[in-house]
Every structure is written in C-alpha cells, then in structure tokens.
Symmetry: C2
Subunit: 222 residues, 2 copies
C-alpha cells in the first residue's frame, strides 16, 4: 500500500521504516529535501524510501500519517492540495507539546477543552482523522513487543471505518489490544496522557512502557 | 488512628467507611451538620462516625483526607485553623472537575501548567500534601480488589516521609502497587487522567477499572 508520512523526526523514521519492512511503498514528506542527515539515514538503512515535500507525500499516500511536531502539523497539512487529502485517512500521531521550557516543564499548547486531533479534523474536514500511537514512544509504536505482555493502544476518530482500517494496519505492526474511545474529541484524553508519560519516563529512565486498562472483563459492555 | 475526612460525597463516605472498618476513629467534615441523608447513611451503616464542620474534622484528624468537590477544596481547608493543619499529612483525593456542561463535556478547571494538588500545597504550606486515589472510582479506592489482578496507584507529593505513610495506609486498604511520580507537580499528570477516565467509563459502562503501567522490569532504574 502507498503511504505518505508527514514528518521526518524519530517518529517519522520509526514508522516509515516499519512500513517499508512490511512491504509498503513510502514517501516521507519534509519541509526541505536537502536534509543531509535524513538522506544519510535513508542511504544507510537501505530502505527504498523517497523524500519529498509534504505535498508530495500527500500525492503519493493512499493513507497519510502526520508525525511532525504538533505545533507544525496544521501548517504541514495545509501545504498539501485539498484534492490529495479528500477522503483519505490521516493517522495523527503527534502531541501538541510546548518544549520551550525544557523537558522538565513540558506543557501542552492545546489541552482540556480541545486537542490537536480535533484541530486537524476541524481544519481539514475532507480528511478522516484517526488519533492513534501518540501515547507511546516512537520505538514502541512500530515494535509494541518492546513492552512485554498485554498493553493497550487508544484510538479516537469520527469515522468507524477509518478506525477499523487503522487497527488492521497496526495489527500488522504487532499491536493486539485497541481501546476505541469514541469520536475525535477523545484525543483530549489521549494527548493529556503526555503529562503523566513524561513523569513515568523520568522515573523509569527508559521508554519501554505503555498503559494497560485493567478491568473486570465480564462487566464490560464493549 | 484519628482521621479527619473533609467531604461527605461518595468518596468521603467510601473512605470514611473503609477507615472505620479498619478500626480507625473518623470525623467527617461537612459544610452543615444538619444534612439529613448523611445522618441517615451513618445511622443505617452503624459506623461510629461523627459529623462536624471541616474545622472539627481538622481538629480531630492526625491525618486529613480532602475529598470535597475540587472547586470547594481550598475554601473547605481555609475554614480550618492553621494550627490544626500544621505538619499534618493531607491526602488530596479530589479532581478539579468542571461539571457545568454535563457529564458528556467535563473539563478541568485547573490543568496542564497547574493542578489542584499544587494549589492546595501552595495555599497551605503548613500541610504535607500527598496526591493519591484521584485516578479511580470511590468504590475502587477503598476496595482495589474490585479490579482484578495487578494495577497501579499513582502518588505525588513533596514530602517523601508523608508519601511513605500514605502508602502504608493504602496497603491496609488492599493496594499493592504504587508509582511515586515525584513532587506535587506530578498531580498535573494524574488529575489530567480524568479526561481519559471519563471516556473509559462511557465505554465500559462501569467503574471497576484502573490503570497499569506495563514495562520491561529489568530496565527500570526505580
């Protein structure tokens, strides 16, 4: 399948690499294709990934993944032609982090009564936005078995069919347990997990952890 | 041990009841002691709980528990004499919920760059505030075995000794796994869990669930 990955940071590299290993055809979109370290990473990895603009990635991708820094997500998508977005699924993996005060005092630029996921869906109603993967580290996203045993991935979005397709894709990554929290406004809850995730990172000193919701199965109505 | 429980809602009743069953001596503090349904609850339960003002509860308690609605917590504590607070541990169980738009659109009145826990610690530096229990339902707080298997309780506070005492108390409730997230500013993370907890409640249709952080044990530095 053809994927457009918007963003070339740790998350973009991890997801693009995983997709290629699974046999998919990936264009990574970036602000400038003259990024030397990125070209070096692609060459060294041997991955048949092509670099392009965000707009190039949107042209190529049947499914799009947004993993720019949260503050740039809307701008990156806006640089794509609307006709290249229309009807496509976009997985929003980013969190709206304000890193200006350092890693010890990270806050969210959108929080509580709004979320980045909602913002993207509102700005681009032609997209079918699915919020997913934003609650764990980039390496865990593509290799969930870095965290042992059972653990959950939270999903939010307005389009049930899109969420099903995303879960199918993520099953191929190794994810086994999904908690669909409802419409895209549930991204308020999953993005706000960053506020505790960063504390857990500080405590554990590594990123190989994830959430599991423990409950009495027989009492569930889901 | 003598406890002062500030607040007489579902959380106050659950915790006061648990404490009495464990042999503790409890005064529940309320705005008005003429609350007929509360008196009926105490009479019917047979619990030797005394009702008083918030100030009476603070006089009585060697350890205090704040479980008023979040919007009233500071005012309730302010009505107590500073000399009855000085040096005491206060477990802050409340979340700063804004319920004015209904249960489907709950937001937090304090969030992201501050928390109720920090607000209480800042307003009352004479207290040793420990944020705990605010991440689960009132029935689970006192009976964690309502959720099967292993699951975690998050702890935050500036005073290590106070956190240890609170964990000892909560072990007697049946809690087995504590994640100390650091100083009281970590309450930003645990209070923000409400934004996902309410979605999970809507999905499951019951409150018998809790969080577990799954990780590779051998890589932990804690």
């Amino acid at each position: 399948m053809k994927f457009g990955v918007l963003g070339t940071g740790a998350v973009g590299k991890a997801l693009a690499g995983k997709l290629v290993l699974l046999g998919h055809d990936v264009v990574m979109g970036t602000r400038g294709t003259d990024n030397e370290s990125l070209q070096t990473w692609i060459t060294r990895s041997g991955y048949p990934i092509r670099l392009g603009s965000f707009a190039d990635a949107a042209v190529h991708g049947e499914l799009l993944i947004s993993c720019t820094v949260g503050a740039s997500s809307v701008e990156a998508i806006r640089s794509c032609a609307k006709s290249d977005l229309a009807g496509k699924i976009l997985i929003d993996v980013s969190n709206p982090l304000d890193l200006s005060k350092g890693m010890q005092a990270v806050t969210l630029t959108i929080c509580n009564n709004d979320s980045l996921g909602e913002t993207i869906q509102r700005e681009f109603p032609e997209l079918r936005v699915v919020k997913a993967l934003n609650t764990c580290n980039s390496e865990v996203m593509g290799s969930p078995d870095r965290v042992p045993g059972d653990h959950d991935l939270f999903i939010a979005g307005n389009d049930s069919g899109a969420k099903e397709q995303v879960c199918d894709l993520l099953r191929s990554f190794g994810w086994r347990s999904f908690l669909d929290l409802g419409d895209i406004t549930a991204a308020r809850g999953t993005e706000a997990l960053m506020l505790i995730w960063l504390r857990l990172l500080g405590k554990f000193g590594n990123t190989n952890f994830n959430y599991k919701i423990v409950r009495a199965e027989q009492e569930s109505k889901s």
